[in-house]
Amino acid sequence: MNFALSAIALPLLAALGLGLAGTPRQGALANAGVCAALLALTLGVFWHGGGGLVAADRLAALFGVLTGLAGLTAALVNIGYVTAEAARMPPRRWRLYHALFQIVLGAALLGLYADNAGLLWAALEAGTIAMTLGVSLYRTPRGLEAAWKYFILGGVGIGLALFGTMLVYLAAQPALGPGFAAMSFAALSAHAAAMDGALLTLAFVFILFGYGTKAALVPLHGWLPDAYAEGPAPLTTALSGPLINVALLAILRFRHLMQANAAAGGKAMEPGAFLVTLGLASLFLAAFSFLRRRDARRFFGFSSIEHSGLAVFAFGIGGPAAIFGGILHMALHTLLKSGLFLALIRAASLRGSAAPGQYGFSHLRGLAHASPYTGWLLGGCVFALAGLPPSGLFVSEFIIVSQTIQRAPALSLPLGLGMLLCAVAVLRHVGPLLFARLPQEKPKPAGRAMHLVALHLGLMVLLAFAMPAPLVLLLSQAAEALR
């Protein structure tokens, strides 16, 4: 059984069914069922990754499982969300919402598993369209503004990425000739040395800015905080992480082509400088943007920009160890962020409503008293985001920093400063979020879905500090191959 193809087809087919029938609650339940099946299928990809256009390598399979897990957690929290918010939209639009939920998952998996630059592009395009429709679902003026911004920026990014993809194809002509081989990552990687280096450099600039838009790198990050803050929370926040991963992995794969070409004496430039610059810019923009954010979803949106920037910075430093750190950072951040957003949604609904605009930090205070389990989980997630031990991010950030000191010592100063500023800005919120005393409050139950957030947190710590040997092997082989 070709698990990769089935894992892509299942959500897309399910989207059709979810889009056509069912009440909001039925839709949410069916959605969760499909996500559970999807997680099982993504696990199967390790055994059979397919061949031809959709051929998942082990790295793609790993991120596929993370996507499936994020999807399942989001879908389970989504049941409570839909039950509480059902009156805000007509049933038809809830059907569209659930269909979009599945399309985003399907697009992310297609982008991960595709062994073809064109399919990858198509997947990100589909993901962008679905996400934009998701952001605009509530039809509020601010939601429409955010969607329009997303559409224009995302559309331009998609356009640039396509141009870059075509230039890569052109650059591969001397090595591979016309046809599908010149778009397959496996073939391109094997023949990187024979590609046209100058053209590859030009292509990489377009790819970087094109997929960089989807990965929310500065200066193309503008859509992300608005999109996070204005759409239906489970869709636009929790499922955004997997799409960002697809874009980051795409950048990593194209970077590898360029690096391999340069290392083999081709005419390509070293890609490091581009990536390091964009990575640091993202880090510092996030560090200074944290200060004045009052809306928690915007705040954590900027934190996604920060961590995207860190991963890209690690790719720019280069070498197997730094890439190992970058990939690990992406994986752990996805686990943490999807857990964090779901705890946040739950916390907001404990305070009355999980609709957009109800996520002000002033509104979400003293959660340790309001609902101890939710509050402590959310506080734990926010604390972990700062990257201090025992957070898993500590491990990946430690690898990145130590590699920077080893390979490009001068860069460790701005890197350390940026990370410190971000950590301080994030930690500032932990205290008020947990301990502010509000008068006369009875603790409320957290709901069973919160165990999943605990699972995410636990997994993140476990993966970082007691990583099982097969995973170490998988990651180091992937990092070695994409060096």
């Binding site: 064109g118 601010r142 329009w148 559409f151 559309g155 356009g159 002509q173």
Partner: protein
């Protein structure tokens, strides 16, 4: 130089000219007409490349370009202009002359960047890629210098024409027809989005300089 080269270059040149002229137009109707011309010439270029390369899927690309971008999209855009009463002049963010000078500079950059880096590629592809990159950059410039949502949309559409022009010029590239369909889906969502969401209702006009509202309220 065979007929293949000269005709492909002529068609590419006309597309570039249309993209450039859009910078100088104040009225939406004129921009739409230019876009329509651009799309029709693009369809012709796709047919010609399909014939020259002997590739059947390029005929398909040409056909959908002709039907959807040459006829349907311009019709939809004109409907929007009429319905929202936007026949009047368009606000620009930069003076017309300055934006045209910038456009010229962008074309220069595109040629200077693409021609030296593609020295080893086939000569037809080289010049086509330079023209296509110019059209893409001009489309982006148009999106920057216009404040009106519909004018920005036309800039986007024009940029997308440049992408299709690049795709049909690549020798034996797979998925060209699929790419153009996928791009069309994006375009259709954009046009239908402007139409259905009736931004006008929420923004009062289609002027997007008010997009800063989110910023004022503090993110």
């Amino acid at each position: 130089m065979s007929l293949t080269f000269s005709l492909a270059h002529l068609l590419g040149g006309v597309i570039l000219l249309c993209g450039f002229l859009q910078l100088s137009q104040r009225r939406l109707a004129a921009m739409i007409t230019l876009y329509q011309t651009e799309a029709l010439v693009l369809a012709a270029a796709a047919f010609w490349q399909g014939y020259a390369q002997g590739a059947v899927d390029l005929y398909f690309t040409g056909l959908i370009t002709l039907a959807l971008k040459g006829v349907l999209l311009p019709w939809g855009l004109r409907e929007i202009v009429l319905r929202f009463n936007m026949v009047r002049a368009v606000e620009t963010a930069l003076p017309m002359a300055l934006s045209m000078i910038l456009g010229l500079a962008l074309i220069g950059i595109a040629v200077l960047v693409v021609l030296p880096t593609t020295a080893s590629a086939l000569s037809l592809t080289r010049e086509d890629a330079a023209i296509a990159l110019s059209v893409v950059l001009l489309g982006l410039l148009l999106m920057i210098v216009r404040r009106n949502a519909l004018a920005q949309l036309i800039g986007f559409l024009s940029m997308e024409n440049g992408l299709v022009l690049a795709a049909i010029g690549m020798p034996g590239m797979p998925f060209v027809a699929e790419f153009s369909v996928a791009l069309l889906v994006l375009l259709a969502f954009l046009v239908v989005g402007v139409f259905l969401f009736r931004l006008r209702e929420h923004f009062d006009t289609l002027d997007l300089s008010g997009l800063e509202e989110i910023e004022r309220r503090g993110r």
